[in-house]
Symmetry: C2
Subunit: 192 residues, 2 copies
């Protein structure tokens, strides 16, 4: 009989992150994660499909929040600005989890398998953005390009944010990265 | 004793593509691929580390060719134009393999595992571009953005190229996608 486990998913995520950081991702088993969290393997698999998914617990929530925020961007925003509007909105999601994000980032960098899963999540984010942009009336080819570019901004702003010694907000890094993208794509100019 | 197997890698790739298309990726074993190619499993694993890698036979070659082409772009090209220069150059790599690319694309779309591997190859391509752009004297943050944007162009141009009923060249699709990116990123403008 399953008993009620308060915040089982959160405890499993914390235990997994600790163990992956201490022993390495490859060397850790689901049984060990469950034991560390004071739960059973069965409880683990009620929450997560595999050993990787535990580190991507927030990704569905994030994807839905981003899609909803882009949906709410003013109707006259360009496709890319609508995506930027959404990215700024979800900034607090990251800002509130800085310490966790740093540890998680280091663990993911350590394992090709985890990197693969992260890239799949990123790809799903692109697809979700394409869908919401098309609902905003953006033509498919433009929506694809704006979603790809928007997720590049998302990703690079995240990398800058995580390395920022001044701990400025994620939204600020989005603005800076978007400005850099605009500078990069202006008509051909020499750089040397 | 290993005997000489003419174009073993190419035969294995063809056999794998045929079997993945006929029976599905999940349902096919390495033993079956080797048998179809008239080779042994041992020969398979001399060429490819796993069941996925056989479909990414050309990716190292492609990555090296792209890096070399970007390296050769005129010194006064902007970072993004240097990448575009490289992408146009490698266009023949795709144009010469249209039928193969179409079948391969369909097989990859059919399997999340193959999509994961493709995303990893794409990520490796971004890293290779960052490296070559930095060698050209581009600052790291700009190199990262130009590489990400360049690979978005690479990827979207590929999607357009593969679906083009007129079978125009890959280089033409690169030019069009790059022009769309420039239009997308000009200063904010209403779209409706």
């Amino acid at each position: 009989m399953a008993r009620w486990e308060p915040d089982a998913a959160g405890r499993l995520r914390q235990a997994a992150l600790d163990l992956y950081a201490e022993r390495g991702y490859e060397e850790t088993t689901v049984a060990e994660i469950a034991a560390r969290a004071g739960l059973t393997e069965r409880t683990y698999f009620r929450h997560f499909a595999d050993k990787r998914e535990v580190l991507f617990h927030g990704s569905t929530e994030l994807q839905e929040a981003l899609a909803a925020a882009v949906e709410e961007a003013p109707a006259d925003e360009s496709p890319l600005d609508a995506v930027a509007f959404g990215l700024r909105r979800i900034g607090t999601f990251f800002d509130e989890r800085r310490a966790f994000s740093l540890r998680r980032h280091a663990v993911i960098r350590s394992s090709p398998e985890l990197q693969e899963r992260e890239l799949m999540k990123r790809d799903a984010l692109v697809a979700a953005l394409v869908e919401v942009l098309e609902r905003r009336g953006v033509a498919p080819a433009t929506a694809a390009l704006a979603a790809e570019s928007g997720i590049s901004v998302f990703h690079l702003a995240y990398a800058r944010w995580i390395e920022d010694p001044d701990e400025r907000s994620y939204a600020e890094h989005v603005d800076e990265t978007l400005a850099s993208l605009r500078a990069l794509t202006v008509s051909p100019a020499p750089t040397g």
